[in-house]
Symmetry: D2
Subunit: 284 residues, 4 copies
């Protein structure tokens, strides 16, 4: 596999966008291996993901951003440039439930996720041994009503000190403050154990059982200031029946949660997500 | 296929239920071909569906209910007895959208549904020709703010006069009055174009698009006094993406609606549904 | 909705393809509303679908093909140009089973398929009435061992005389001759009632039941000279259990067949399919 | 949770089976909490799973089998009696791929599987560290063309010495000898990385890519003398597209394999499987 550059961009829709971006790459002798774009006709928004090989590209990787900047400016683009050999640094936040954490750690150790899992942070110490088994530093930062602010500061310190790119709430079960959320826009991924917007908030499997639904779901989303209302990245569901008690729903739901969260993290690390408004474009 | 009898029963859970019901059938030389039961341990409710061949059964079909009644009384059962050669009579209520109606009519004509579709009732006349093509009487009963009550009375007249067993709201788009609903308990099946409880009420595909969900769904449920909150019979979902505009969601959703509604109607006609509390047990 | 032009093209992968095609549209003042491409790195094949508004485009629609031809020639492209207001003409071939035919006819009548269903051809006369109910000419061309060739000639005559674009085998149950197939490359769509390549050939639901599978499926594919082996357009599956007898599988399968075939026809009519090698690229 | 007894039985269909088994439990004051049965009308086979609470049951658990034996004999039943507090002993066989092994070990450590994973056996030593991290003994038994028989003997020694109940082939990639298979009937569970019977044998994802399928699947089955042809326990599929290269299929397939294998193991440990002929009845 050769190293690639990936441009993710969004802007007001206008003529010439595709032509101009592809011309930039072609004239510098780049070989495009993936390109995907979408026009939201209703909102008149254009989003694009374009990936090309660095090998043989005329512009040095350090200078690509500078060279592209005038085009971006002309079209008033929001844009990011990423390279396939960059490895994001992840912090995993958990409470007591281990399944999402186990799944992420195992994927990381098998090389499925192009990332470094730098640390695990929890408000409980139940999962310290699991982190230790996988050789990942574990930080136990308990929460009491009086220490909520101090605990969040400590979490933020750890995240900033370790230069974390992505914060994964792997069933963290705590509501982050607006300040915390604002500090990491589109960088906090949460897994909620329902097909949102149904059953937001606490105990979604109990709510689902009470309502007698025939499907349960899981939703991975970016965290925003409004609880369980951020841009949705991935969702999936399983069929259930009257035979499924609340513990059965919890058991079946765990498999959904693991798969949906891992998929969202994978898409984010692979630079396949663009957020605009309260929606996520997934280039898969 | 031989004719069969089917017992559907629910009661407080207690010892000896399975033994007593199966003894009743066995001692009268009945051959059980399907039996399924469920105990809701939390609510302490027992529900059962048991189906046996009439051929060779010692009790005449007219007298089975009388003979079983003492057992039912002893255990304080809610129960129904049905025979496989009974054909339910259906009224289909529609507004302007034809897809669910077409689907039901085609299934009926192909013999997929063991039923008679006796009439179609609509508050618009758009689908009169479709009903006519299938040879089903069509009743146009328009609604204005002033005539809402009178129109409902006319609908009820038609239903009662035609001795209708099951009322299918195939995208009827009208909210029935509490009196109407109360008159046909567990006999009105509605299709709602979302995975309830998400996006109850009006324009669910617009709501889904606005929220940026990655799955859409459809829900068939019995109608109760509370809007879109009755016992759920069947649900299914489809994956969607940022590429799907509201018209795309509507288009994809139509296939879900057709399949989910047909499945619910089929389960009901096949005597596979028991409602208790606000939940539906589906013996499939 | 404005009228659009859609280019579908495939060629050996090479630098400058995206840039050149988008430049052609941009320099003629076209507004691209969808563009999607794919590079098969293994086979070194590039495929693209690009759709733009005719409104405001500098080249008259009659002259677009001529103007684009030099670019196509330079890159040795296979290509097609389509306009969104063109309506394909469809022939539906059936035997005795009605479900796929009903589904296609209903979609056509509801305006879901941008097409004209010009005629229905069958080797049996069972479905003549259904076609008649929908106002579509029905041609009964029976087959005996002695008349197979003559019957096929008669089918081809009808297809050619009615200027048919797409031939849909809606459970036709007859194997077409190599000559027939060769005459309509990538223009014959078949629905096979299994998830191919499992259970090719006759009686797939019986095969599935015998094998004890836990999922059944349906496959829509372009017909080629090799039975059930052409490029796959769409597939879907349903879960089944030990409770499902062969008739149950047939019943459940019908819903899959309808949905998968309709999806394939819709994708084809919407100019979203490109075939290369024995594979289908689906731009959805 | 109270301790329960579970009877799993199959026999030729005959009148009085349900009545007699339920009478046995009722007359001894047992409280049935789950009962499910199925009659295969075609093969005239009756299968049943019935579970009741030991608490309050008149017969001591050691004597239940003896007391039930006369009934079983009268109806010529195949039957097993299990108690919910028995923990099966599992051996996991792997080669080089870790995902199914990680998944099973994590589930076991989280208490999801009511079992003891007694040992891991592999023909390679790649996964020794993973087993060690989870505190499970790892046995490296390499295979060369000359040592195949000796290696299998060593595996069987380990299995017999550790009194293993269930052998899980978690991507073991080796074909077991007929003698090995015959020694553990319905006790060896394999995961095959396709929706069988499609793509049996080697490199199913390569076969799937070559064929251009739009779904991939995974199948868990009991191992029999015929390769990939044993009774199917569980299957699931994922949708794929032309964008998915072979490595993408492998990546997506891993999630299917993990989930389907875990589901099969869970069903087996929970005494929910009955095999007859070449089929598996799943009481879920």
């Amino acid at each position: 596999m050769t190293t690639t550059a990936t441009l993710l961009l969004s802007c007001a829709d206008q003529k010439g966008l595709v032509a101009e971006v592809s011309r930039f790459i072609y004239e510098n002798d780049g070989n495009i291996i993936h390109a995907d774009q979408h026009t939201d006709l209703e909102e008149s928004v254009f989003v694009q993901r374009i990936e090309w090989e660095l090998d043989g590209f005329d512009i040095d990787r350090e200078r690509i951003a500078d060279e592209f900047a005038p085009i971006a400016q002309r079209f008033s683009m929001d844009w990011r440039l990423r390279f396939s050999d960059e490895r994001a640094r992840i912090a995993v936040l958990v409470s007591k439930q281990a399944h999402c954490m186990y799944d992420l750690l195992a994927r990381w150790r098998m090389g499925e996720l192009a990332t470094d899992i730098s640390l695990v942070i929890s408000n409980h110490d139940d999962l310290a041994q699991v982190a230790d088994d996988f050789g990942v530093p574990f930080h136990h930062l308990p929460i009491t009503p009086d220490t909520r602010n101090a605990q969040e500061s400590a979490v933020r310190d750890l995240i900033d000190r370790h230069d974390i790119d992505v914060i994964v709430l792997a069933r963290y079960m705590q509501i982050l403050s607006p300040e915390f959320v604002a500090a990491y826009p589109n960088r906090i991924i949460n897994i909620h154990h329902s097909f949102l917007p149904a059953f937001a908030g606490a105990r979604p499997y109990h709510q689902a059982h009470e309502r007698g639904v025939k499907v349960i779901g899981a939703t991975a989303h970016f965290v925003t200031g409004e609880l369980d209302a951020g841009p949705i990245i991935a969702q999936d569901v399983s069929h259930v029946s009257h035979r499924d008690s609340v513990p059965d729903l919890i058991h079946k739901g765990r498999d959904l949660e693991k798969a949906v969260l891992a998929r969202a993290v994978h898409l984010h690390l692979d630079n396949r997500l663009i957020v605009y408004g309260n929606k996520t474009v997934v280039f898969d």
